[in-house]
Symmetry: C2
Subunit: 285 residues, 2 copies
């Protein structure tokens, strides 16, 4: 199944049978004081820099989130999107809990973006899915609903199925629904990652959809976090993850390694190319 | 299923339902000139040092291989085994292609060891399995036979099954047969790792045996080898690998991460303990 996204001049295809694509997570003000400051001043240079460095490190798509306390993101998100798509030619993933901000961003998008996100709550389904349909965007469906977050993979799967059904009913193509299985901290619940991995497998096996995940938090509260995140990433890819939302500076090598091992990278082209671009970066510093 | 090994005073249980145990690979002269030199002089201090540093880094069992050109390993292997088990209290995995060396080592073993290895060749089955029975040792069964190495996971599985049947027929308990699915370089064959992973899954699902693997070679000829080895290790563990033969200095953190993610490490005890012992090592340097 193929989810097709576009920027000004480039098409990016997230393909369930292809290599893994990376959605760069770093244009997000959480724990980035400088991003809060610059965005507050309508200065987009730093956001663009963050975007560019992620593309250089292997990102295929950029997540754009401008949420911080007191922000009017229905004004700031479209402004940021405009600045970024003027500077950088990759598809965007517009990220806000506020449907008004999503709609405002959709109005200015060049090409075809991914909405982050709808979930199984009635209110969310009613607010977000019509926007995806109207503006011809793909949409991430997060597997939580009015009952909150379940720890049963079958129940998470049911929510994914419900989101897909509701989307298709509105005329959205099934390939434009990308499921986020939810990743939670393994320090809080020993089964947290296993539940996520089983949900990924169910969605992959039964629905065949593209699957995303922002998973850096699985290692919250533990040491050696990069190793935990890499192990979880590799296992998620094995089970069906196709487009993680992640920091490419930390994860691209491991994503390429997983693709090579599962025979999605003939002649190790992508793996070696990434290595060479890293080396070029190093020698350019 | 449980494979029980013993040293002088310690019992180590490789359990298909438990966390992954590591068989330290480093007492092996390949590319270790100093080990060749010291062993040639019947000086075992360096071998013991290699063993100790692997135990400190997380090895539960030590592989002992003294193969180098011109060696009389039927004499040197038992001599090395004696020196190591006098100095270090962990079970050993005695590693030689020469049945005479295996038998000579079995005669001096304190406790219960693992033989590395028998394979599906008639000659090997006839030479090694009776030794495992006679000396009450567990044995690694490598999935190649008189036809060489097959790239079909079902055929590799058949060889595993044959080795198991032949062992059981001789009175060896099935839990004392540990299968090695064979790992080959992914640079030479894009499907190499996938074939290994599928073989692991077949042996795990259908026979339920413990599974080992010496896999550092999967990354031969490629850059960023540690990442490839880690990704392959995590996926092997997910599919059923329980006791890799590896360099614990490079792989223990990732093995512990994989166990934590698949809910084999409640409260992250082993993961955090390993981190703390690493920190203690660092500050002791």
């Amino acid at each position: 199944m193929q989810t097709i996204l576009r920027s000004k001049s480039r098409e990016v295809v997230i393909d369930t049978d292809g290599p893994v694509l990376i959605i760069g997570e770093s244009i997000n003000p959480t724990r980035r004081k400088k991003l809060v400051e610059t965005l507050s001043n309508h200065d987009f240079e730093f956001a663009i820099q963050l975007g560019k460095s992620q593309i250089d490190a292997g990102a295929d798509i950029l997540d754009v989130n401008v949420g911080f306390p007191g922000v009017d993101d229905a004004a700031l998100l479209p402004e940021t999107v405009k600045a970024i798509q003027e500077a950088l030619d990759v598809p965007l993933c517009i990220d806000s809990p506020n449907p008004k901000a999503i709609e405002a961003a959709l109005k200015v998008i060049d090409g075809r973006c991914l909405i982050n996100s709808v979930n199984g709550e009635e209110k969310s389904l009613e607010a977000i899915l019509p926007l995806a349909k109207e503006y011809d965007a793909a949409v991430i469906g997060l597997v939580m609903d009015d009952d909150g977050i379940t720890h049963d993979p079958e129940k998470r799967f049911k929510i994914a199925e419900k989101i897909l059904e509701r989307a298709v009913k509105l005329g959205i193509k099934e390939e434009d629904v990308v499921i986020d299985p939810l990743a939670m901290a393994v320090s809080a619940d020993p089964n947290a990652c296993l539940v996520t991995l089983e949900t990924i497998k169910l969605v992959h096996d039964r629905l065949g959809l593209n699957i995303t995940q922002g998973a850096s938090n699985i290692s919250f509260g533990l040491p050696n976090r990069d190793y935990l995140n890499m192990a979880h990433m590799v296992l998620s890819i094995w089970n069906g993850l196709t487009c993680p939302i992640a920091n490419p500076n930390k994860i691209t090598t491991m994503v390429r390694a997983a693709d090579l091992i599962r025979a999605k990278d003939d002649f190790a082209m992508r793996f070696v190319e990434h290595y060479q671009s890293q080396q070029a970066d190093e020698s350019g510093k």
